[in-house]
Symmetry: C4
Subunit: 229 residues, 4 copies
């Protein structure tokens, strides 16, 4: 893929977040990675979405060193790059403060798999990280946010559960490309919204069985997927 | 009715679901049946709503065998066709993951008849199916979903309560034609939304009396209906 | 006022309800009264709002006898006319199934005066009627709905609290003219929405003091009103 | 700054509140101050937002004496002017009845700092004033509202926590200029919305640590701010 196309894809993913109501003002960012060239394309920090053009995207290497671009990258860059280094299969990362997913993150609660909408996208609960230590917060905080995510995913396949809640903060989602990562962030918010209402109606709601989780997840994912054209 | 008109009607019902906010991305489907010809017209699987045209609709027989169309039918086809075979009076079926109705389904709770808005459309609580067994889920799952619905409606007239919640999944609604089925799905969501808020305000809310249920339901349905022109 | 102007005003009030999201499909109606001529102008029953024109409005006398119009009047006509006969100062009546006010009605709960937004419009809690008896429901039900409202307002000035919740049903609002009645219905829904959230945050919320109720209500109403131009 | 520019800025801040859904009908107002000239520019009372033009803004001195303008100023003027006199660094004040912030005010609850969205803007909980005494309400009520705010901010830097909830009433927000004050009011509502959901999910939610509060707040504020371009 040409870097030019990746810039456009990353911009479109950022705009999809706005269109779907996941982003207020500049509270969100999306990035994509070109694995062959070892380059990351990310939204600049604090620029109005209305003014964003592909050429405004900032290009860095996988350690966050700026390679191209006149603007400062998103302040969450170091979380994105760590995820690219640690999760080998992901092609894009999205961060939002979307209302319901963030409320679960603030409550320190994972999003349980309460229905088939969840199971179609997330093969188990969407986990919440541990609370960051004062030392981590006072140090390389943005990097440490990534460390907490990676630690929480020990034993979890990030392609099977393509999102996480950072405790006291907000969600990150990812996917095979920028379109897919934004799509997962949008579905995460929908799933969080329904989990919220379900838990208020019935705090003891059982959640889906393993059989139903398997059936729905593998309907849309893996070699035997049957959904779509 | 010409099959051409049924294709258009089914498409319009699908678009009504989008317009009313019941469908995110491709999470929903509507179908209609031509009883004389024994043909079902259904949305194709996983196609963007923006791109849908009448000629994209898939035509099958009442057992789900494809008769016409280049695209794969909705993955929920086997539930639709079973409902057509078992519920002789229905002319269309709609499936969504609409937010509030799905939250009741996830909570494993029926939607009680708490007010006259409900009574105008549903002659009693909107029931929730039993949880599907692992065997049913592992077998002909989509067909088994229909089986669970039909079993739950033993003793209930599907024309008097034109919707159901599939436990841990989401609602199905139906009606005499595609327009009516989509309308019922939209009203179901509105009724679910108000039931949710009512129960949070007052978990002991009484619900309507049989007299009020009768009065409102028969105001809009049956030989003595007085509503409308 | 010419009846022609009243038809237009009543139509505009109906459309304001749609614009503000208080009405789904045809679930609502507004009427206005010409006291000099003893005529009521009301929306026809079950007609799409998109198609409504001033000449579609139905004209009746104060007992609901149709004087002009080819369409059937709103099925709630007899409640409207009773309110006009009993509440001498009101010039218009609005009925909706707006989401939050209806949820309070379904919960059988009045809307307490929890803040100054409420106090600016309603000089005390918005009351809920008694549940209608089976006999009333089985008899002249729409008229009996009005009877229950009037009975609930014994000792309450309907101009000081221009709305009511009919238990298990939905709100009615009124005002000095059609614009005012629709405005009150919209504010009622906003006030109900905030009361709902307040009570979920703090079921023991105190509500405004009599002093604050007086201050805000009389800021906008009565001889000493200071609000606006 | 020319007063002409301030009129335009204040108008734009008022319109931003409408655009973001914080204001129903005329329930809100924004003002700005020109410290050099000692002049305040404020929205007129009860005028439709659609009709507002820069020349409709009312100009007063810091004691609320009208200097220019044919319309009556917002009925909340005396709160605005007191805040300008007492909080030396603020350049604009905004008042709304936005849904979630008002619900906290009605519940008599501060908005706790439950996440980083909050910490990015408010360096601690958003406080709620004491309930006004009957005497204060019966006296110079609008002025006394300001007195209650100022009293509540004893020991709090108003630039570090640029908003307050007036008990039983609604929020006020402020900032270095009109754009900033409106922005803070919008973020306050978003933060209140997420705090509401967080507390309903988990009434024992911990809130952010001092370390996280420091990290996020100073990322966007003060000499060492790193956010944006």
């Amino acid at each position: 893929m040409l870097l030019k196309d990746l810039r456009t894809e990353v911009l479109e993913a950022n705009l999809e977040l706005v269109k779907r109501g996941l982003v207020l003002y500049t509270f969100g960012n999306a990035s994509g990675v070109d694995r062959e060239q070892g380059l990351v394309v990310i939204k600049p920090s604090g620029v109005d979405y209305d003014d964003l053009r592909p050429e405004h995207m900032v290009v860095t290497d996988l350690n966050g060193k700026i390679v191209d671009g006149d603007l400062k990258p998103s302040s969450d860059l170091d979380t994105h790059t760590l995820l690219y280094r640690e999760f080998a299969e992901i092609g894009a990362v999205v961060h939002t403060h979307s209302e319901f997913a963030t409320s679960f993150a603030q409550a320190g609660m994972e999003i349980p798999a309460l229905g088939t909408t969840h199971a179609d996208y997330f093969y188990g609960p969407v986990p919440v990280t541990a609370v960051l230590s004062d030392q981590a917060i006072g140090g390389a905080y943005v990097h440490e946010t990534g460390v907490a995510i990676v630690k929480r995913f020990e034993g979890i396949d990030p392609m099977a559960i393509p999102a996480v809640l950072v405790a006291g903060h907000a969600p990150f989602a990812w996917g095979k490309d920028a379109h897919d990562a934004a799509h997962n962030a949008v579905v995460l918010e929908a799933v969080a919204k329904m989990a919220y209402k379900t838990l208020l109606l019935n705090p003891e709601a059982d959640g889906v069985s393993q059989a139903l989780l398997d059936r729905h997840y593998f309907r849309k994912h893996g070699a035997k997927a049957t959904y779509g054209q």
